[in-house]
Amino acid sequence: MTLTRDAQLGAQRITLADSETVRIAHLLRRAGFTPTRAEIERAVAQGYEATVEELLHPDEQPDLEIEDLIRRYHVDQNSLMLLDSSQGYWLYRIINSRRPLEEKMALFWHGLFATAYGKLNHAKAVVNQTHTFRRHGLGKFADILLELSRDPAMIFWLDNKDNHRDAPNENYGRELLELFSMGIGNYTEDDVKAAARSFTGWTIENTEYMSIRASRDSFWPYGRIDWQFRYRDDDHDDTEKTFLGHTGAFNGQDVIDIIIRQPATAHYIAGKLYNFFVSDRPDEEAIGILADEFTRTEGDIRAVMRRMFLSDFFVDQSVRLGRVKSPAELVGGTARLAGSHRTPEWTICNLAMDVNFMGQEILNPPTVEGWHTGMEWIDTGNLVERINAAGAEMRDTSRPGVRAVIDRVKSAGNNLAPQQLAEACLDALGMFEVSDATLDSLVALAAPWGEVRFDRPEAAACAEERISEMLQLIVASREYQLA
């Protein structure tokens, strides 16, 4: 155990593991969702850099192996017609995917390119968009923007279906520059107009019929029909345009090619990635390093992420446990840890509701700007939701993840004094850094129990209850609510 001064957590930060284990646990939390102790051990065995490479190549892991079971038992998650069904489906992915960074990137892009069910009335269209993020989320940024521009949900969300050669609609062109790539102040109104004209004709199949259905929330007679991209050359403005200092008869692809070469784009995307994966507090030097990598690799997101994960600023103590878990991270990650929902259970809809109650309706962000993150995830109301939801997962000692934690705690010794019990539980949860105040609280909980004994069969059930109580208090701690 080591103690260091720490402004993040309190007067003293107590470290219960070696520095490599601490770094890897941090990596797995940020690049995924609350790793289990076994996953941390496996990563430690293969080393930090090898773990980074594994995370960066999700295609080398199998895709969701229970997808058929989900669709069989949740018929509603086969059609994905309803928002709550679709939210449950994403939680299954978060809990069960062996490609954690793929899911984390999907959440990141979903927050940045926020597209909401509320206007579309078509949940599967938004799910399909998240599949695009899974497919391209670690690829070239130009490909991401191209797929986004062709994505039916985005075309509907920002009205590009209404962007015609003779009557341009600037909504998508504006947000493409302002929110999706460069940030305000780096382009002119004329650039917005030129971008919009370049994307005329980028629409969806059966525009009128699909628009009528969406506007009146009609799923009749036989459910939603998936939207498809369609390019209408006869509705495209192929005249000359001037965009960000370049002149030509641009189409949407040309606009994207110009955007990704802008230094503002590199800095904007680097800043967004830093904010999501590293810290809520901007560090211009670190963001500059990521922006340089973006520019050097012509927008290769995998390269930028590698640069981030291998940088000292990513694992520095000042950022570890310094980021509030989003509701989806908290709920999905805790379910992973507890081992719940590894196979289809109807209660997945309750987990989805928990995420909603905490302020994050995945697939239905509040505005095109996405969610306000960081400390804004926490208020007096949803803090109670967060603690209750996490505690409920740890309460059921029959869950395989909870059982694995209990078995690991038991292996620490037949008789555990209060502090030993607290430290063994923290270790079994992969929480190697806590404040002295938190540890004191855990020890105080266990103090009235005296020694918890596992060597007497008649006391085993009681001992397991003690561990469960300890786990529930730990997941309520500041350190667990952070990542």
């Binding site: 069989r72 799923f219 459910g223 998936d226």
Partner: protein, 342 residues
Amino acid sequence: MTTAAATASFAYSHTVGFLAYRGRGFIHPIDLALGDDGVMYVLNRGGPESVGRLEHKRVCVCTVDEGYVGEWGTGGIEDGQFWWASGIARAADGRLYVTDEALQRINIFDPDGVFLRYWGEVGDEPGQINRPAAITVAPDGTLLITDGLNHRVQRFTTEGEYLDGWGEFGAQAGQFNTPWGLCCDAEGNVLVADWRNDRVQAFTSSGRFVGQWGTSGEGKGQLSRPSSVAVDGDGYIYVADWGNERVQIFAPDGEVAAVLHGDATTSAWAEDYLAANPDESRARREANLVPAVNPWRDHHRETSARVEARFWGPTSINVDAQGRIYVVDSCRHRVQVYRKNV
């Protein structure tokens, strides 16, 4: 579409259904039972299981010629209520049996849908169940169910008394991986959709393995997660090839007699809706409802999501004595009816 075979052809007839949370229509139907005079008892699984959606779980009673008779049942955990209703079968006396994979029950209803009682004890001992999926009535009047997570078939009396069973987890002959649909032929031989083994297995009435159809894949004669199986009096075997979003029909000699992908048209109930919404109806007529598609992921399913007429999640197939074939099209909230012509 009409698909010719050596001795029989199979032609699309019409579609029954309309998306409705209550009343005249279906919401994620999963199975149906056939009654007398063309009556269908369509079991709606609904979902997800949030409070406001529980009333979607019900049995809609209608006729093959699109008459609406009524509905009964609702979602919940009380006696006679449904949570994950999965299979429905009708006995000779008109009583209806409904399996529930979440509540782990087999419910018994009288012919009018009045709940009588249920049985079901969770476990893996003989007579116990773990996610009972499909149910069928054997020619001798006994009930057969697929015991999904116990990977076996079990037989009960109509009062729920355990008789016998067979199967265990595995991929060898006579073993199962999460079986789903099942049916009997006139002699009592049993066909089982061995869902996660991508095959259909045949057994004698006493459970002795006879043969199997299908290997994993999307080619002709191959299967992907078959959900349901039916057999007619001529020995044709009908398989809901769920993962391939199609139906395959095997002739008595084992050859593929037909492959159906779905041909849905607007039902009478759908026509009523469109007549009441002329602007939507006009736009629909002018739309291309069979667009060219090329999804990059999960090709069959995503194509079905884009082309409304195709099967999407066919969970159940039945055939009646008149040669009518009923395909429960779960993600499209309807039943597509075909006809066999000899």
